[in-house]
Symmetry: C2
Subunit: 409 residues, 2 copies
C-alpha cells in the first residue's frame, strides 16, 4: 500500500512553522508497515491544493491531508477537494448538527463562520474528532483520502482513533512489520554501534539522534505475525543484553518516567537542589503524572546566599572551593535531602554560560551529586554547547545518575 501525505498551509511553505504533522503521520504509517512514498506541502490556494490532490490520488492508495479545514477564509482544503474531483461543495446537515452540539458543550458562540466548516465535498464522511471539530474521509477512484485538521493534537487524536485502525484493517494479511524504539543514554553513537556489531538476525536498525539521547528504531518484517513478534522480541532482548544498563527505555517511555517507576518500586522519595539546571530537573520529574507520590520538592539556588542559608552549604566551603565544585555539590545534595526528608536527593552546580566561565572553571563545567542515607556520589563533567544544551545535558545526566543508582540496589 502506497501512502502520500499532503500538508496544506502558507505557514508551512513560507517556512513560518516546521511541519511536525507530516513527520508524525509518516511515522504512524511506517510503524504499521505501510510505506509513505511522498510528502507534499502546498499553500492556501485552491488551484494548488486541488492539483496535488489529483496527482497524489493518481499515484497512491491512501492520501492523508492535514490543514486548511478551519473556519477562516484561508481554509480552502474542502473546497479544493470538491474541485479536484468534480464534486458538489455543499452543507453537510449531520455534520453541521454535530458542530452545533460541540459548540454548546464547550459553551462557545456558534457563528456563521463556524457554519462554514460544515461545507464538505459531496460524499464526504465526517470523522470523529474528540477534541476539535473537523475531519472527513473521501473515497475517489478506489483510493481513500483522509482530511485532518492542522492542529497537531487533533491530528494525533484522529490518527489514533480512526486512521491507524483503518490502516491495520487494510494491511491485514499483507507483510507484517513491527517496529520499536529503543532509548539509550550514555555511550556515543559510535559506542553503541561497536556494542551491537556482533548482533545477528534479519532486522533493520536505524539510528535516530535525539539529543542528548540516542534512539534506535528496530524494524522486523515477515509474512507471519507470530513469527515477526517472536523475532522482534528476540532481537530486542539481544540488543538489551549488549547495551545493558545504557538502554533505559522503549517506545513512549521517557527517562524521567523510568526514574519515577523505579522510585515507586523501591518505595523511595526524592528531592533536588539545582543551580545551573535552574529548575529543569524538577520540571522534568514533575511532567510525569503521579510524580507527587515520590517527588517532595526542589530548590533552585542561584546565589551563594541561598546555597548557604537554604541548604546549609558552609560559607568556608563556598569560599575555599567555589560554588561550582565537588564539595559544594555534595553539601547541596545533603542539604536538600535533609530539608525535604527524602530517601534520595540530587544536586547540580555548574556554568551554563555563555558568560561566567574562567580558565579554572570553564563554561560547561558541571558537578552533579546524588545523596543517599549513607553516601554521596559526586561526578564532574565538561559539557559542550549553548546554554540550553548544557542545561539539558546536565538534567539528563542527573536523571540518569539516579536511574543507574536505583538499578544497583
Amino acid at each position: 500500500m502506497k501512502v502520500e501525505i499532503i500538508t496544506v498551509g502558507d505557514e508551512v511553505i513560507f517556512g513560518h512553522i516546521v511541519d511536525t504533522n507530516a513527520a508524525f503521520l509518516a511515522n504512524a504509517v511506517y510503524s504499521l508497515g505501510a510505506k509513505v512514498t511522498r510528502i507534499i506541502s502546498v499553500g492556501d490556494d485552491v488551484a494548488a491544493i486541488s492539483e496535488v490532490l489529483r496527482e497524489a490520488t493518481s499515484r497512491a492508495d491512501l492520501i492523508i491531508v492535514t490543514g486548511g479545514l478551519g473556519s477562516t477564509p484561508d481554509d480552502l482544503t474542502s473546497q479544493a477537494a470538491a474541485q479536484a474531483f468534480g464534486r458538489r461543495f455543499a452543507l453537510h446537515k449531520g455534520y453541521l448538527e454535530s458542530i452545533r452540539e460541540k459548540f454548546q458543550g464547550w459553551d462557545l458562540k456558534f457563528t456563521p463562520s463556524s457554519e462554514r466548516q460544515a461545507m464538505l465535498p459531496e460524499g464526504a464522511q465526517p470523522l470523529p474528532n474528540p477534541i476539535g471539530i473537523c475531519g472527513f474521509k473521501l473515497e475517489e477512484a478506489g483510493k481513500t483520502l483522509f482530511f485532518l485538521p492542522g492542529v497537531p493534537r487533533e491530528v494525533e487524536k484522529i490518527t489514533e482513533g480512526v486512521l491507524l485502525p483503518f490502516l491495520r484493517e487494510r494491511i491485514r494479511g499483507k507483510e507484517v512489520i513491527r517496529a520499536s524504539l529503543l532509548k539509550i543514554f550514555g555511550p556515543t553513537e559510535t559506542g553503541v554501534k561497536e556494542l551491537l556489531q556482533d548482533l545477528e538476525g534479519d532486522y533493520e536498525l536505524a539510528y535516530l539522534p535525539s539529543f542528548p539521547e540516542i534512539h534506535l528504531r528496530l524494524v522486523v518484517r515477515g509474512a507471519d505475525e507470530a513469527d515477526v513478534e517472536a523475532r522482534k522480541k528476540r532481537y530486542e532482548e539481544g540488543i538489551r543484553k549488549k547495551l545493558g544498563i545504557h538502554l533505559f527505555g522503549k517506545d513512549d517511555e521517557v527517562l524521567e518516567g523510568v526514574v519515577g517507576e523505579l522510585l515507586k518500586e523501591k518505595g523511595m522519595t526524592i528531592s533536588v537542589a539545582e543551580s545551573c539546571t535552574g529548575g529543569l530537573v524538577a520540571h522534568r520529574i514533575t511532567e510525569i503524572p503521579g510524580s507527587s507520590d515520590y517527588f517532595l520538592g526542589g530548590v533552585v539556588v542561584y546565589s551563594n546566599q541561598a546555597k548557604e542559608e537554604l541548604l546549609g552549604v558552609p560559607r568556608h566551603i563556598l569560599e575555599r572551593f567555589g560554588p561550582v565544585s565537588r564539595q559544594t555539590a555534595e553539601f547541596m545534595a545533603r542539604g536538600v535531602r535533609r530539608l525535604n526528608r527524602t530517601t534520595l536527593a540530587l544536586a547540580t552546580t555548574g556554568i551554563a554560560g555563555p558568560t561566567g566561565g574562567t580558565p579554572e572553571t570553564p563554561v560547561g563545567r558541571v558537578f552533579i551529586a546524588l545523596a543517599a542515607q549513607d553516601e554521596v556520589k559526586v561526578r564532574k563533567y565538561d559539557f559542550f554547547g549553548d546554554r540550553h544544551q548544557i542545561k539539558l545535558m546536565a538534567s539528563e545526566v542527573t536523571l540518569d545518575m539516579v536511574r543507574r543508582y536505583l538499578l544497583t540496589l
Copy 2:
C-alpha cells in the same frame, strides 16, 4: 520567481526526523520576497528522486534540493539528477581534488567511498561549503537547481554564502518584502482580530498559533526598499497601539527574556515558589543568559510540609483553605520573597492533573500570586488540557503577570 524545495531521505518520509531543512530554506526564500510554491519529500530511491526533479523543474524557476549527497550507498541524489536530465554521471576531477584537500586539512583518511562524492551529473558546478564537502548547482532548460547536503548546519552555511546572494541578484529590481513576527499573550485569536479590525494599510497579516501565545506575521511588499521599511514600521506601530500591553515581543524575543529586561531596567530581583508548575517557571527564567543578575532562587514545594516549613505557609491556612487556594498562593509568594530577599516573588499552586481533581478544585484550577514590597496580587484560573499544557499555560500566565506588573511601575 517560483521556487520549489525537495528534501531527500528515508528518514524524512518514514517520519524518523522532522524536516527542519525545508522550513529553514522556505523561510530564507520567503524573506527575500521569492515564493515557495511547493515542498516535496521523497525517499532514498533513484526513480522517485529523478521523477520529482523532472516535475519540479517543469513547474518552478528555482529548485532547492537537500539530502542524499553523502558517501554511503543510500546517497543517491547526484545519480538521480544525472538520470532525470539524461546527463552523464561522472567523476568531477576538480571537485575530487578539493575533497582530497579538505580531508587533509581535517586530518581524515581519504577512502574510495569518499571519492564517490565527487561523482556528479555532467555540467554540475560545485558549490563552496565551508564546513562540509558537498553541494553543487545545475542549469537545466533555463531553470536553476541547487543541490545541498542534508546536515542542517551545512544547509545554513551554503544558504548564507551562495543561495541568498544568488536569489538577491535574481530578484534585484523586483519586489521588496519585509516581514516581522509580533508576539502576543492575553487575548484569544478572535480577540486579537477584533482589536485589529480597523487597522488599515497595504500589508498581509498571518496568524500563527504558538500555544499558549499568538504570533502574528506582518508582511509588507513594494517596489522601493525605503518605502517598504517605512510602511512596515508604521504598521508595526499601528498594531502595537491597538494591542497595547498584550503585545509582548517581536521576532526572536521570548516572554522570559522580556521579563528579564524589565527587571534589569528597574533594578529589581525576583524569586519563585512553584507547586503545580513544578520548576518550569524557574527553568524558563534561567534559560536567559545573564538571568543570575535578577533571578535569585526558587523552590518547588510539592508537599504541604514543604509549603509550611520552607515558605512559612501557616498550617491553619493549609488546613482551612487547602493547598490549592488563594490564601496558600499568597503565603507562598510572601514566603519565597522573604526567603530570597527579592524585590518581587511569584507563586503557583494548582492541580496539573490528570488525577487529583475534586468537584470543588477541578484539574486545571490554578492560583498565581505576585508579591511585592507592599502588596500581593492573586489570580484564579481554570486551564484546559493535559498535564503538560496546564503546566505550560500556568508558567506563561505567571511570567506575563510580572511583565504586566513591571510595565505599570
